[in-house]
């Protein structure tokens, strides 16, 4: 029993981290229709910037988490405004390749700026000691993350469903021409959404760094594939789907590690393929 509960908890926290990354990825795909390989890089940059702020301004974690992502947003703005924007009208492969080019560039830049070696962010004491759950320790920070994930989800939901912005975004994502006909300035909207997506990715990175306990150039390359899988399983462009998808993948891989260790990764990809065949719009996506 104890072990099952802890496998679930581990799965939940892992899933929430993937969600934090996948949310931005999904939002960007939903609105811009671009599958952004470079999203993992924004996750990486988020981690690095957060802890640079933390180090140099000797600020606390929260200030780092507040300021760090802003730098990433600036980077994201440049990427969208001067590069990505020029390939919206091009075929899918061009868009993928463009973002892929940025993965190479950012990985290398991080290596130049922050050094080749790994950096370890300091342990966060704000959350104090681990908490006993059924007689076994579980890190308070993970519980915090398990709480943050849904909060982000709710926040996004409120923004999309309840605000003027959200209505415009939904309009644009469902029908670009219609939106522009209604006087929405789509280019600006796209930039805004992309930057916001980068912000989400950066926050993910900033929150993940103390959890992973280490930052390396290229740390985004592994997470991005997981995020893809989640986005696909949940339904490309569907935030609800991404959230539930992240939960499923997190918990499933936790159980996989526990009970079918050899083929855990294989299982995930079988699930991915199965969903694509059975419901291409994803488990929770609306048919487009």
């Amino acid at each position: 029993m104890q072990s099952i509960v802890h496998v679930c908890l581990a799965g939940l926290s892992a899933g929430m981290f993937i969600w934090l990354v996948a949310s931005g990825l999904t939002l960007i795909f939903g609105v811009l229709g671009v599958l952004n390989f470079a999203h993992g890089s924004f996750y990486m940059l988020g981690a690095y910037f957060c802890f640079t702020v933390l180090r140099h301004l000797s600020a606390n974690f929260w200030i780092g988490l507040l300021l760090g992502p802003l730098f990433v947003c600036a980077v994201g703005f440049i990427v969208e405004r001067f590069f990505l924007r020029r390939v919206y009208h091009l075929a899918l492969p061009y868009q993928l390749l463009l973002t892929f080019a940025f993965v190479l560039i950012f990985d290398n830049l991080v290596k130049i700026v922050w050094g080749a070696g790994s950096l370890s962010p300091p342990r966060l004491d704000i959350f104090g000691e681990a908490i006993l759950i059924m007689g076994r320790k579980f890190p308070a920070y993970n519980l915090f993350i398990i709480a943050v994930g849904p909060l982000v989800a709710i926040g996004l939901w409120l923004m999309l469903e309840r605000t003027w912005w959200g209505r415009i975004i939904r309009a644009a994502s469902s029908d670009r021409e219609m939106a522009s006909a209604l006087g929405v300035r789509v280019p600006i909207l796209f930039t805004a959404v992309f930057v916001f997506g980068c912000w989400l990715g950066a926050i993910g990175g900033g929150l993940a760094a103390p959890y992973v306990g280490i930052m390396t150039p290229g740390m985004g390359d592994t997470i991005i594939i997981e995020a893809f899988i989640v986005a696909v399983i949940g339904g490309l462009g569907s935030l609800k789907g991404a959230f539930l998808g992240a939960l499923i993948i997190g918990v499933l891989s936790a159980f996989g590690t526990r009970f079918f260790p050899t083929f855990d990764m294989f299982l995930i990809f079988i699930l991915m393929a199965g969903v694509l065949l059975w419901r291409p719009q994803g488990l929770f996506g609306e048919a487009r």
């Binding site: 390749l97 080019a101 940025f102 190479l104 990764m265 079988i270 393929a273 065949l277």
Partner: protein
């Protein structure tokens, strides 16, 4: 007409250069030339799918690996005959492509891409985890190049790179020729029809899905050939051949060179191999510069290098006439 003959001449020069290369240049250049030709085979075949039929696959690494491991296992357990080994590799790749393709061709666009990615990564994790058979992450090591025998009727040694080079060259030319034939065949025309307008093609009485599957298997076989040839060149087969990052290579190469021509992927392959090699000599930050070059080509040279050249030629001609 004038252009045609010019083009033909260029091809002849290029071929002559390839044939003469082992005598003109050092071992390393010969090695790079082989890397180029193998990548070229991979890309030309792949482009039948992407450029001709308009399907973006992220799983062709799996077929490349199938070719390499198929070749490796055949060499290991059955016979050291290189041609038979290559045949086995190609067959393995084609069969795998048939299995995977059967599911994948139900979708197009991003869903097709993601589906192929998923299947490709399944193959990767199978190879990685089936250690007893595949050697896990160490891969199959020590694949040797025995002479090509013609069942008693003499034999050709391919142990030396300079010798093996001609085997690779042979398959390279063969592949390019086959790809060319396919492009100008009725089959190829229907494929481009599918790319341009699948719905209409259906109303032309074409069972679109079967054609997609057919070209998927074809390109898979090309990938298998490339894989088998690399297995012999590097004398090993590795799981990462099946990884999606490797599946991205032909995409990259095709876009670098240009999607809508046969020469595109070839030019792209050459550029890819040469660039990676040369950039490394000037900087350790090859990733950075590689990325920047990609950006420039995507944004500046849409239609790839070949496209740009073509435009130049056209403009020249226009000026000439005007």
């Amino acid at each position: 007409m004038k252009n045609k003959s010019l083009f033909a001449a260029l091809i002849l020069v290029f071929l002559a250069a390839l044939v003469a290369m082992p005598h003109l240049s050092g071992r390393f250049t010969v090695y790079l030339a082989m890397r180029f030709m193998i990548l070229g085979i991979f890309a030309v075949g792949y482009n039948l799918l992407l450029g001709q039929t308009g399907l973006l696959s992220f799983g062709h690494g799996a077929f490349y690996a199938a070719g390499a491991y198929g070749m490796g296992f055949f060499w290991l357990h059955l016979s050291p005959h290189p041609l038979l080994g290559i045949g086995a590799g190609v067959a393995a790749a084609a069969v795998l492509a048939l299995l995977i393709g059967f599911f994948c061709v139900r979708h197009t666009e991003i869903y097709f891409a993601m589906l192929t990615l998923a299947f490709g990564m399944m193959v990767f994790s199978l190879i990685w985890n089936a250690r007893e058979i595949t050697g896990g992450d160490d891969g199959l090591v020590g694949i040797m190049r025995d002479p090509v025998t013609f069942f008693g009727l003499g034999k050709i040694p391919i142990g030396k790179d300079a010798q093996y080079y001609y085997l690779v060259l042979f398959f390279f030319v063969l592949s390019v020729w086959v790809a060319h034939r396919i492009r100008i065949s009725p089959f190829g025309l229907v494929l481009s029809g599918i790319r341009e307008n699948a719905r209409r093609t259906e109303f032309a009485g074409v069972p679109v899905r079967n054609y997609r599957l057919a070209v998927f298997v074809l390109s898979g076989a090309f990938a298998g050939l490339a894989g088998a040839l690399e297995a012999m060149l590097q004398s090993n087969a590795r799981p990462f051949m099946a990884h999606w990052t490797h599946s991205a290579d032909p995409v990259l190469v095709s876009l670098l060179g240009g999607l809508h021509s046969l020469t595109g992927p070839l030019a792209g392959s050459l550029l890819f191999v040469a660039m990676r090699e040369i950039v490394q000599r000037f900087t350790e930050n090859w990733m950075l510069w590689f990325g920047i070059v990609l950006l420039i080509i995507i944004l500046g040279f849409r239609g790839g290098v070949v496209g740009v050249v073509q435009n130049l030629v056209l403009r020249r001609r226009a000026e000439g006439e005007g």
